[in-house]
Point group: C2
Chain length 188, copies 2
């Protein structure tokens, strides 16, 4: 139970429920779970190009010749790659920072994969780098910081902020509405 409680979202009650469940299962099933955890940890590392999770030295997206080399989408976390892949709209490559700049948590540019990104952009000369970082204070700082670093090499864009699709004007918060107004585009 002590070990299980270290997992995110698992408190004392859930830990107890999980532990009691495990005690009820056959030994083979428990061993299969334990083995899967060890295997996953052993086999999954980070892609040496984009730092997304990968079982190979270079991940599937980076190896895929059908994906556009000329666009790099910069995200904070591997789960953002997964979210963007689900849209099936993006055909370029990624770069996973491994977090956002957050001085309070002791995370500066050196703790992230920023140096590797700058090297990659300066060498590959992509046509566009898209910043797709959640708009928290730390996320904004990271986006603007990277924008300054990368602009000498390429065009740097950022994803749009505004009304979520299916959202109602009335229920949008004021900052989102203000951004939606500010970011308005000509109708075509």
């Amino acid at each position: 139970m002590e070990q299980l409680q270290r997992l995110p979202g698992v408190g004392p009650k859930t830990a107890q429920r999980l532990a009691l469940h495990i005690l009820k299962r056959p030994e083979a099933e428990v061993e299969a779970l334990a083995q899967a955890l060890i295997e996953a940890k052993k086999q999954i590392g980070l892609c040496s190009v984009c730092f997304h999770l990968s079982a190979e030295p270079v991940c599937e997206i980076c190896r895929n010749a059908n994906r556009d080399d000329k666009t790099i989408c910069v995200v904070a976390d591997p789960r953002d790659v997964i979210a963007l892949e689900k849209t099936r709209e993006y055909k370029g490559k990624y770069h996973v920072l491994g977090g956002v700049i957050s001085p309070i948590d002791g995370i500066g540019p050196e703790q992230l994969t920023i140096q590797a990104l700058v090297r990659r952009v300066s060498q590959q000369q992509p046509q566009e780098v898209i910043m797709a970082i959640s708009p928290s204070v730390e996320g904004e700082t990271t986006t603007l910081y990277l924008g300054q670093l990368l602009k000498p090499f390429t065009k740097v864009t950022r994803i749009a902020f505004g009304l979520p699709v299916g959202g109602d004007l009335e229920y949008a918060d004021e900052v989102t509405l203000a951004r939606a107004l500010e970011g308005r585009r000509e109708l075509d």
Copy 2:
């Protein structure tokens, strides 16, 4: 209780609670409430220019000389005006359609204030008309329909769709993420 139940969001239980509360209050208080309802209904009509709620023939926003005459923001409903005013970002005028085009509900362009809008735009020649309609299927139809009608007279823009501010990439639905990517802008 029967009458109270006709209010939006008031079911049998709430109606009973409200009715019992009213019975407990002094008569003067109950009369003040009843009077306020009648007065509101009597005095509040629609602005003859923009169709926002107004106690005067022309509403406060339309009469305000400090507001920019050259921009008209088109919304579905008076509550959208209230939401946009809360942002304190918008300094132009409004036009309230009174709904969106919805053939299923029998609402066509004639049921809305569209004719008045076209007349207003063709006469006043504003520099920009901003469509600020929630992105439902009906809302989209209305935005595109009005865009076609108004483009001969002025520039027509629409508010941005994308990630809500403070929202997390991971929790955005796929359509919103796709729109956020599509609507990306160059970092300045």
